[in-house]
């Protein structure tokens, strides 16, 4: 089992939350806008504290309200690709990619990662000079190179044209099939859910 999530959080008038367990592979969190998909990712990442519930990944508890466990964000070893790339504007692409890199364990090889993402020619560029698709791929590379235990993708294909979407989809398939990293991906597009998801969770 990869993800075992059961969280609720009150935000203003609304009660947000999700409860699901998943197997290996890529799990799509599918639902309309405003269903609380991003909030759920933030709660799994530790950026938003759930009022109640638990988050377990591969048997390890990251959050458990009853047991008072709340692992700090920086020690959860997540690879989070946000809806916006969130690249550090004062660092070049190379420094962005290496920001989360630790020499511990079986970290992905740098060359291999920039190779399958096709971002080798961008290393000396500043983030502001990248196109939307390029920035998205650099953000995915940065998350992967931090040697995460699992990957959170928040609408990784939104606001990209058809060609760019295809590139990113291939990269995600590579992560799912070759790197075999557990992935939780948020989308509201049925086509993406169908093509990429090993399983689909509806919110």
């Amino acid at each position: 089992m990869s993800f075992d999530v059961d969280v609720t959080r009150r935000l203003g008038e609304r009660q947000l939350g999700a409860a699901f367990t998943t197997g290996d592979g890529l799990t799509v969190l599918f639902g309309p806008s405003g269903a609380g998909k991003t909030s759920t990712l933030n709660m799994i990442a530790g950026l938003l504290r759930p009022d109640w519930g638990h988050v377990r990944v591969d048997g390890e508890t990251l959050f458990d309200a009853a047991a008072r466990i709340d692992v700090p964000v920086e020690r959860r070893r997540i690879g989070y690709v946000f809806q916006e790339p969130r690249l550090f504007p004062h660092k070049r692409v190379r420094a962005n990619l290496l920001y989360g890199r630790h020499d511990a364990g079986r970290a992905l090889a740098f060359d291999e990662t920039i190779g399958f993402l096709g971002i080798g020619h961008l290393l000396d560029r500043w983030p502001r000079s990248l196109s939307g698709g390029e920035a998205r791929r650099v953000a995915i590379g940065r998350a992967l190179l931090a040697n995460p235990r699992f990957l959170l993708l928040d609408e990784p294909l939104s606001s990209l044209d058809r060609g760019r979407r295809e590139e990113i989809m291939r990269a995600i398939e590579h992560i799912r099939d070759m790197l075999k990293l557990p992935v939780l991906m948020v989308t509201h597009d049925p086509e993406e859910a169908e093509r990429l998801g090993t399983q689909v969770v509806r919110l």
């Binding site: 530790g46 964000v73 920086e74 070893r77 916006e84 969130r86 504007p89 931090a146």
Partner: protein, 234 residues
Amino acid sequence: MELSLILTPTEWEIVALSLKVAATAMVVTLPIGFGFAWVLARGQFPGKVLLDGLVHLPLVLPPVVTGWVLLLAFGPHGPIGGWLQGWFGVTVLFRWTGAAIAAGVMALPLMVRAIRLSIEAVDRRLESAARTLGAGPWRTFWSVTLPLSMPGVLAGAVLGFARSIGEFGATITFVSNVPGETRTLPLAIYSALQLPNGDAEVLRLALVSVALAFGALIASELLARRSGRGMHVL
């Protein structure tokens, strides 16, 4: 009347003293100002409005009043002055260190404003991105928040430096007008104005003041502009 634009040795000493006072004031006030700016930008606590007002008080208070308050605090029987005297046997009264304190206090509001704005302008989503990449709060601060707010910090420092160079009212009230010790540029100009033949000195020192202040303003403006250039791309 013969008008020379060449500074006399005494006037050079006045300029050097002013730079020393202003530079010391900046070095000491910058971390304090950053601390205040940080708390005001990020903190949420009761009494925040009060702290905000207190920090900005020197900006709106008559400088003479600020100088008088400093005199009370740092005087031999004041809470800070008594402590300095008792533990270290030092006083800042009539000393250039006192002039630096007055300059620092007067510059603080300007610095805090500039730094606070730049901290508030930092995209906090970048900080959460850093956290997910394994950076703890300190590394996030040093590698993301501080570099991104640096242009504002530098602009605030330059602006505060210029303000310190021009400090008059609080200084003369607090540490008087002692030649070679607390007689900075504005105080020297004021003194020269009292002399029958002081016109040439006034002109020379005034020109130096204009040059220093103008240079600082330009530098501050350039730094502030840099902060707006390509730094907010997401």
